[in-house]
Amino acid sequence: MPVNIKAKLISKEQLKPDIFKYSVKADEITSVAKPGQFIEIRVNNDIEPFLRRPISIYNMKKEEGILEFIFQVKGKGTKILSERREGEEIDIVGPLGYGPFKISNYQNIAVIGGGIGVFPLYELSKNAKKENKNVNIYLGFRNKDLVVLEEEFKGVSDKLVITTDDGSYAEKGFAIDFMKKDIEEKKVDCIFACGPLPMLKAVREYAIENNIPCQISLEEKMACGLGVCLGCAVKTTKSSKENPEYWHVCKAGPVFQAKDVEI
């Protein structure tokens, strides 16, 4: 059940020139939130910018009630958010999304992410490791300058592969190709993915072709985050041309079974 709280910004860290990690005190959210869920942040107390910003949960320290999220400055709203200071209170609604990552049924898992889509995969991987699962992580970035959280993901995986499109750091190429190679050698029980659309499409297609369960975390333009405005629609695979069927990222998702949705 989501709540609307004012969460104190405990610490703020600039991971990259335009990427920030915020840790907030949010017991009411961390006590119930699951990996894959997200929060909606009102960046100021004004009517401009108007809407809340949906941001995924990166990490939770449940005993301390600390919630961490990471965001990239992309426009006016995230710019204002990036200027908030430690000690200030941040207006958060969450946890949101009735469809979190579901990990309990799988022992050997592949986790694949790209760019700023890697953030929600940390809490997932951390929980999977805690449950003694075998976790292989594949993270793709465009180039060296954009690689983030390598050490953190190393700490929650059995194997971590970092790729850059241009080869400027670690492995050259796309993360999916390294994942495929590993899966050919040793099957996995489920793939978990979050990242740019072309990557998600490729992962989804590969998983369906090879009959591997696959959960993907999706984004769509969103207003309420609560499931009432019905803005963040995703077409389901049950759709026909005459009869499209839509689910919603904030309600059925943000994590979907890859076979259930068209992307």
């Binding site: 709540v3 009517i47 207003a223 309420c224 803005g231 629609a233 077409k235």
Partner: protein, 302 residues
Amino acid sequence: MNTKINFAGIEMKNPVTVASGTFGYGREFSDFFDLSKLGGIITKGTSLKPRSGNKPPRVCETASGMLNSIGLQNPGVEYFAQNDLPFLRKFDTAVIVNACGSSIDEYVELCKVLNTLDIDGVELNLSCPNVKAGCMAFGNTYEGVKEVTSQVRKVLDKPLIVKLTPNVTNIAEIAKAVEDAGADGVSLINTLLGMKIDIHKRKPVLANNTGGLSGPAIKPVAVRMVYQVAQAVNIPIIGMGGIVNGEDAIEFMLAGAKAVSIGAGNFIKPTTSIETISQIEDYMKKYNIQDINEIIGKVEMN
């Protein structure tokens, strides 16, 4: 201090309702507050048969507001009656169903069903800008509005409110058509037709190209229209368009609205509606107003 109003026969404990399409069927907001605090709930636009809605992207932010082109996605009246209405009826608040259709026959058939349900009233949606057939096609001419309202009136015994589009030349004339056709009230404004272009892709942001503009950006237009309609008709008005607090609500009431609706304001803060109620009470205390009905239409024009 009295905040009770009687809107076209519907008793409300205060003048604050929530606008269609911004509150679903109430369930999601019941996590945040007791729905019984509201004067009324106007449901998501509901049609005779389920509707799947438009392609995404369906929403985008604009200056002090947002555009939407949902396309009236809803589960249909039968599903509503079985699953959502019993839930809404657990709360002590007026339930008004926003009814939408694609033809006069469909509006009539839908209202026949609604007439049998345990609801307090119907808000006829003649003003959705986001669907091809029906709605705004009926909503923007005197004859169209009069015809569909009259036909519905014949089958509906419950209070009938007609929601007006602002996308017309003379909204007072349209409101007059509603009154002439026998409706009990009007609600306005629905969203203003708008468009946003992604200059990098050189394409509209919304998949449907255009959408309805809502939020504080449209408030001055809405207040003006409520005032104009209040001068033209004797039936009561639910005023809406960009209300996010009590001061906004009072502005609408002074312009002539008997009740108000919180729309997009529900998205920025789940408790906007109930905070609006207490802010209205603060205003009443400040100006020593005993009865909220005293201020309706009491703007003094220059």
